[in-house]
Amino acid sequence: MSGNYIPSHYLPVISILAFSVLVGLGALIAGLLVRPRRPYEQKLAPYESGNLPVGEPRYRFSVKFYIVAMLFVVFDVEAVFLYPWAVAYDRLGLFGFVEMMIFIVILLVGYVYAWKKGALTWE
């Protein structure tokens, strides 16, 4: 890693990003200019697989989703520690392995607790 790092490697990425944005916008604008505009009621209704819409679109999610999402967030982000460990594994050796096992066991305890408390059952 050098101190005067210039992000020139990203130039192709930036150009393709700009190109794709232009193409997308261009297609939309072209459609807007060309297409005829004859609105009526059925056409303006929200599309729901060809059927008439049933119920409110702002559907209330069950709280179970939040619990699962919360557990996911925690366990997912803790995996961030596994990457540096995996990269430097050969240099850390046994010490790093033991440390990581302790870390995983602690996570496991949390997992077992969540499981036994029924946070993972979908009832």
Binding site: M1, Y5, V73, V77
Partner: protein, 100 residues
């Protein structure tokens, strides 16, 4: 070459936006997001310093901040859900049982 000060200014501006949002927003979720913004603005400055100082400490710190922020988010949302079950509002002006 982007000078260091740009990153620091960016980070300071984002941090200030976060503080501002935290203080003026009335919806608890928005307050929550402002807080996350504050944490992540600090992450920007850590990474920038780390790059310019050629030291890895800042990046390690960012790892820890990210994971702690995730734990914080989980706990904060859990508290919000429990709160919402008992009184269905997310307006911070209505959290007023305790005062005096």
């Amino acid at each position: 070459m982007v000078p260091l000060s740009w990153y620091i200014v960016l980070s300071a501006v984002l941090f200030s936006i976060g503080v501002f949002g935290f203080l003026v927003r009335r919806n608890l979720i928005m307050i929550f997001l402002s807080m996350e913004l504050m944490l992540n603005s600090v992450n920007i400055s850590f990474v920038a310093f780390s790059h310019y100082l050629q030291s890895m400490t800042g990046q390690v710190m960012v790892f820890f901040v990210i994971t702690v922020a995730a734990a914080e988010a989980a706990i904060g949302l859990a508290i919000l859900i429990v709160f919402y079950k008992n009184n269905p509002t997310l307006n911070s002006d209505e959290i007023n049982l305790l005062k005096g």
